[in-house]
Structure formats: structure tokens, C-alpha cells
Amino acid sequence: MLRLVKGAGHSDKEEALPSQRPADDLSPLVVAVRRGSDAAVRTLLTAVGPAILKVVRRVLGARHADVEDVAAESAFAFLSALTTFRGDCSTVHFACRIAVRTSLKNRRAAAPHRVVAAIGEGDGPSLEDHQSADPSPLQELIAERRRSVLRTLLQALPEPQAEVLTLHLALGYTVEEIATAMGIPANTVRSRLRLAKSALRGRVATDGGLQELLAEEER
């Protein structure tokens, strides 16, 4: 529930975010949060919360049991990091980047480097889940299993590559957006993307189960 905060809109040369960058509607709130406004914290989190939630769901899976806990961790990490936020990117992109990192960290901690390709294994939904819930097509079960496997694959990449590839593939960020959000050169982003995509394909090429799973998506 977005509410405007009194006093959040006035400028302050010391604390205001750089003005030459694209306008960010949330920057006055960021300034107010830094000043210690409780109301601004709530309003800011209400504004970026849906984006954080979306990122966490994309990384963990929409119905993962830890979605809310990881989103809360991401929100707290976002607020903590605001002290160092220079306004190089939009506040929402900054929050999303932190949510990606927090979510990936959570996945790594929960299941370190475990890649399961076969249908019927892994931490995704089981066939029994679907049989007991509302009747769902088998295709939906396979799609969920595929997403679960792909998330595990992403998580198995080196951290910088996983972060860039998640922003790019799962969230649709352009190279420029990733570079701005992460504060790194665009060429570094391209380089990480290239390495990550190559590693991804290499992993798929050597795993018959993965190939079979992805072939369904290509059809």
C-alpha cells in the first residue's frame, strides 16, 4: 500500500541522489529512510516489495515454502544496503539485485551443488502432489520439474555468473540494466553472460536427462 511520506520530497544536497541520472520516483523515499523515517521504510518496502517477491519466486519457484522468509531477508538486506546505495541504478533494480543474491544464497545453502535432471527426483513437486491437488495436466508437472532443474543448474554456476544470468534470463534484464544495477562495465556483463551460457550448454550437452527435459520446451 503505497503512501506518500510527509517531508520525503524536499531536496537535500548532501543526501539527495545524483540528479543527472534517470529520474527515480523512489529516491525521495530512500533519502527519508536514511534520515530514519519509520513511515518511509514501510512505504518504500510496500513499493519495492512486489518486485522483491517476484524475484524470489523466479529464483526459488513460485510456490517454494521459503518464498516469504527469503523475501523478508531480501527486504532487510535491501534496507541495510541503502546506506551505501549511490543511486547508480533505480531503487527497484537495486532491490531486485539484492533479492537475486539473497535468493541464490538461500538456494545454495539449502541444496549445495545438487543437480537433478530426472523427472521424479529433486526438490520440485512430485507426481503424487499433482494427483492429490486439483487435477493438473502432466505438461504442467513436467514444466515445474524443468524449472526446478534449471534453477538448480543456475545455482551451480560460479556466483558472479549465476547472478548475471539470473538477472538476464529469469528477469529479462538487458546488459545495460545489469551493468548499472551491479555497478560493473557492460563488457564485464557480456563476458560473464558468455561464460555462463557456455557453462550452461556444456552441462546440458553432457546430461541426457537434461537434454530430454529441455527438448520438451523447444517443441
Binding site: M1, V41, L53, A110, D129, L200, R201
Partner: protein, 297 residues
């Protein structure tokens, strides 16, 4: 430069959302024909983005996020924590810690930790869930709020229990098992009365009761009681907006037109810029219109 060096990454990022024009799509297709890395990447992107990431009650989840994070962040003017605030912060920290610990624990063990309390007759994911239509209309009556808590449970680490219960309740809710979710949230209300978890559970119970199919208004009246109780016990509570909206919805669904009108107006007076303000105005207009048409008849 090789073909791989010229990967049209930005086209690849936008393609799964169908945002490419014909020329861009042709460019991407030409590249995909010779770049296996990008073909794999596109398949991955399409698969990951095919899942809906916005679910029912996201507003409530976001409100809880804001509430939880606000209690954890040290802001100016809050350097000295009062006794009540200490308890609240400690509870949230322990809740998060407990949830994280449970997550790690669960990843290492097939069976749940012994601090987890099974509620109801079927543990998660082991027995079939009842179909939606079989949710008992008198669900709130079926789970007595005054049920005593076994002594063994009271002696266990209280925070780990609340984290586990919240997790189970969320799982039940996400899977559509409304009756079980309500039962779990009510347990949290009983056991952790006065805690942030109980407040969240109270609003969740009210919201879930509003979703119960027609049962003569019993569930809606119970929902109204939940929201009224929250508003009375937490006058400045973090979930006040949700409670006011829930109260107005409950009154409206019970056919209490005058009270519903007053409730929506009161909500808009207090939160004119809320994300739910637009919906609230629509309800007001509809209620006023129904009043006029009834008067004409």
C-alpha cells in the same frame, strides 16, 4: 570476432516476453541457428519465465515484509529499544533464524525436526489433500479456539514451533488446503498470543475465512470477529490497513450495507493513498448504486 561474441543478448532477454518486433525476431532467429549457447539460454529463459510470479494475497505478504523488516532495521530515533520493542525484535529475529535453521535442517533430513508440531491428521505432502469443495463451511467451529495446548508442546522451544507452524500454514495455503491453513494459523494465534506471528496469523485467518464458500455467513462473521479483534488489540498495528479492508469486505459480504459503507469510507479517510484505495472506492460506488436502485424499487 566469432559468432558467439556477437550474441544479441538484449534480444534474448526480451524474446521470452514476446517483446520483439518481426525484424528483431528474424535477427535473433538467424543468430540462434548458429549459436547453441544462446539456444540453450533461450530455452532456459522461456521455461523460467513461464511461471506466474504474482499470486493472491501478495498485498498481505508485502505488508508482512514491510512489518518484519521495519522491526529489524535500526533507524534514527530508535537506538534505545524499549522492553516491548526488544521482545518484538527478538521474536522476529528468532523467527527468521528458526525458519532458516528449519530450512537447512530439512535439506539434510528426510524427516521433519522434532521441534516441528504436526497439526491435523495429515502431515504435509504425505496424504491426499481434500478437494476444494470439501472444505467444511463450519471450519472455524470445527477447530475450537479454546483447545488446550499439550504440556509437552509448551515446554518445547516456543520460537522454533512458531516458525514451523508459520511455514506449514503457508505451505497449506499455497497448496489450496484452506481448512488446514486456517487450523495452523489459529494454533499460532493461540500459542503465541500477543506476538507478531499471532497478529499475522489473525489477519490470515480472517482473509481465509472470507474465501470460504457460502455457509450461511458463519465464516464471514468469524472473519469479521478476527478483524475487529485485531483492530481493538493493535490500534497502531502494522497490519491495520489489511484489517480495515478485511472488515469492510466481511461487512459487505454479510449484507450489512450501511456498516460496509461506513467501513470503506473510514478506510479511505485513513489511507487515501493505499494501493487498495482504488478498489475501496469501487466498492463504495457499487454499494451506493445498490442502495439507490433498492430505493427506487
Amino acid at each position: 570476432m566469432s559468432a558467439v561474441d556477437l550474441c544479441p543478448d538484449d534480444l534474448l532477454a526480451r524474446a521470452p516476453d514476446g517483446l520483439l518486433g518481426p525484424a528483431e525476431r528474424a535477427l535473433l532467429d538467424a543468430h540462434l541457428a548458429r549459436c547453441a549457447d544462446c539456444r540453450t539460454a533461450l530455452v532456459v529463459a522461456t521455461a523460467l519465465r513461464s511461471e506466474a510470479t504474482t499470486l493472491v494475497d501478495d498485498d498481505l505478504i508485502v505488508a508482512r515484509l514491510a512489518s518484519r523488516a521495519r522491526q529489524r532495521i535500526p533507524t534514527k530515533g530508535r537506538h534505545r529499544l524499549t522492553g516491548r520493542r526488544w521482545r518484538s525484535v527478538a521474536t522476529v529475529l528468532l523467527l527468521v533464524g528458526g525458519a532458516a535453521a528449519a530450512s537447512v535442517w530439512n535439506s539434510r533430513r528426510a524427516s521433519p525436526p522434532d521441534v516441528r508440531v504436526d497439526v491435523g491428521s495429515h502431515p504435509p505432502d504425505t496424504q491426499p489433500r481434500p478437494p476444494e469443495s470439501s472444505v467444511p463451511a463450519e471450519v472455524s467451529e470445527a477447530i475450537p479456539r479454546s483447545a488446550s495446548v499439550p504440556a509437552t508442546h509448551r515446554q518445547r522451544p516456543i520460537v522454533a514451533d512458531s516458525a514451523s507452524l508459520l511455514r506449514q500454514a503457508r505451505e497449506a495455503r499455497a497448496s489450496g488446503d484452506r481448512a488446514r491453513a486456517i487450523a495452523l494459523y489459529q494454533r499460532i494465534e493461540q500459542r503465541f498470543e500477543g506476538s507478531p506471528s499471532a497478529a499475522v496469523a489473525q489477519i490470515a485467518v480472517g482473509t481465509l475465512l472470507l474465501e470460504v464458500p457460502s455457509d450461511g455467513g458463519r465464516s464471514r462473521r468469524s472473519a469479521l470477529t478476527e478483524f475487529d479483534h485485531y483492530l481493538a488489540s493493535e490500534p497502531g498495528g502494522a497490519l491495520r490497513e489489511e484489517a480495515l479492508v478485511g472488515r469492510a469486505r466481511a461487512l459487505e459480504s454479510l449484507g450489512e450495507r450501511a456498516q460496509a459503507l461506513a467501513a470503506w469510507r473510514s478506510f479511505l479517510d485513513l489511507y487515501p493513498r493505499s494501493l487498495q484505495a482504488s478498489a475501496a472506492r469501487s466498492h463504495l460506488v457499487a454499494l451506493q448504486a445498490s442502495g439507490s436502485s433498492a430505493g427506487e424499487r
